[in-house]
Symmetry: C2
Subunit: 388 residues, 2 copies
Amino acid sequence: MKKAFTSFIVALIMLFSSGYSAFSQYGPRIPKSPEINANNSVTFRLLAKSAVKVGLSGNWMPGWGTVMDMKNDTGLWTLTVDPLPSEMYTYVFVVDGVRTIDPGNPLTVRDGTRIESMFMVPGDKASLYAVNDVPHGTLQKVWYNSAVLGMERLMYVYTPPGYATSSQKYPVLYLLHGAGGDEDAWTTLGRTPQILDNLIAAGKALPMLVVMTNGNPWQAAAPGAGPEKPDQGTPNIGAMGQGKFEESLVKDVVAFIEKNYRVSASKENRAVSGLSMGGMQTMNIANTYPEVFSYYGVMSMGLMDMSRFGGKNDPEARLKSLEALKKSGVKLYWIGCGKEDFLYNSVTDLRKFLDDNKFKYEYLETSGGHTWPNWRIYLSELAPKLFK
Amino acid sequence: MKKAFTSFIVALIMLFSSGYSAFSQYGPRIPKSPEINANNSVTFRLLAKSAVKVGLSGNWMPGWGTVMDMKNDTGLWTLTVDPLPSEMYTYVFVVDGVRTIDPGNPLTVRDGTRIESMFMVPGDKASLYAVNDVPHGTLQKVWYNSAVLGMERLMYVYTPPGYATSSQKYPVLYLLHGAGGDEDAWTTLGRTPQILDNLIAAGKALPMLVVMTNGNPWQAAAPGAGPEKPDQGTPNIGAMGQGKFEESLVKDVVAFIEKNYRVSASKENRAVSGLSMGGMQTMNIANTYPEVFSYYGVMSMGLMDMSRFGGKNDPEARLKSLEALKKSGVKLYWIGCGKEDFLYNSVTDLRKFLDDNKFKYEYLETSGGHTWPNWRIYLSELAPKLFK
């Protein structure tokens, strides 16, 4: 028994010291990284005795894929970067040319198929995204049948604090990700459960359900979460403009939610919003199913010509759709875009089209580009405007 | 608009080619890895033009941390390993001494604070763990208040297929992880939702809820999932034997589940099982709260002396507890252990203690050690024996 106990403790120490920096006294193999310093500068550390060159690549650096050299001191590579504004950041180490997550940091996020390490710099933004001392909603991973797409599919449903024990009927926001993403995107990179918990606790947003689907019509679920069917990993840009996902959202998803959850099954209690590809899907839904939703949020998207995505470019139909949308009674058509977004011009085109045709919308222009820091802010700006 | 469209397509291609092997025609930067060959040998590939030495370390290799050299051909490092039995495997590349996930593989699992790449070799085991074409249950991330531990805590609740629309009351299995793990462990490494879906669909297990808590009394939730409180990352081995988590499970968790879910609130409809530290907690619960559960599953654990974990070593109390447990009416006391488990001797001691005192139990001895392949099999053997 004594031997078994000793082995058990040794195994525990191995487990903890393999990662927990706090347990470094038991085996200081992995240095603390990243360390947020008092002035919000950040120190990164990597133990790599045999590496020739180690760099740091962070999403706050100018230009995609910028790498800053780290300094080597007998195998411990370090770099302290200038103070950063409060935000959620992702980064990798580049070890002799190979991008790798930080072994000292258990926090990672997956963006499409790319996995990076993550940290938050405290302050205003971080506290909007953080798990604060407020009532928390529940996040559910739910399977539903899509008759339109002919498969069982996975989605997330956020139910607000109090849902389980209340008898209230709630409104629902359907929230759509961009190309390269999947159903995980809004729950991880988007921090949706945390943002909603915090907005609801502050009395800024009404309690609502948020449904986060997989918007890729070729795929049942995120990598590894669905059945292993060889063709399901293959993206099909040409399927984007064909409206199949939009049809499945309206016919399969909304119906499933309204059957299985305690929600208000009326137009005035349904909102749809998406970023990039999801913004395109939101525009398509407004054009094709004007009777379903009263609230729309289009983030970082304005492309109206669907001919490049397997769909149509029909200005006449577009005008007709807009008239139908007007008649159906829109409570809010909200557009958000960053000044440096590569789709900024398309958003200008969309706004001109709406202005020319006297269609009322709200517009938020931010700094920055086609990035998650913007989309998290758009969600936090849009949610308080819904269902009021 | 044309320029915007072109930028959009370029961005899409960047997104896809940064990971999706299927899109390699747009930028073959990341080779397909791993590739499961027809004979179940597996080929690993890493593009690392500047690396001096690249190795592969997999959890199927003999000895913890074994590294096999990979072969370099103009910067593309490859290795094909011998055919592997059907199972879920984890691995890392070792690039000039740094352990890194495979950039060609979007599938990772987190074991404590260590993140590794993952793949499955098809066959019997994989099909038990896979997302098959069967009805799926729902997995919920739920916050609850623990008055005993004085914090809001996160747990997972698996509800079986049909739960949302049925009026049936279900039995509940409380499933506990080991030291170094947290509430994520059974849902990811343990494949619990998939195993339960598959067992229920095959008619082998009854539909049941499975509640997967965080068993670390010093921690609200997994890294990054809880509030950022500086002390919550620090493991406290000495807290293991003090029974606080066990008390919170019985007083906080069971009460929460029975208030918020449609379950049968009776002893005959409650089971508790855990691996390693969770097995110790299961034993403690049997000893301390014999009136709460009818079914017990102790995996890879037999240590009875709690004095090393901040608790007591009291053989007399142990005997008294066992008599109380007998009287309370145990439907099943199940023990599973691998022949090479470092706690094997402690399990032999536990069995001798139970035999000597004429306490009935079932015992499954497998090959292998203190590992997830064993614990997944133990779950799949135990679940069919519950609530029948």
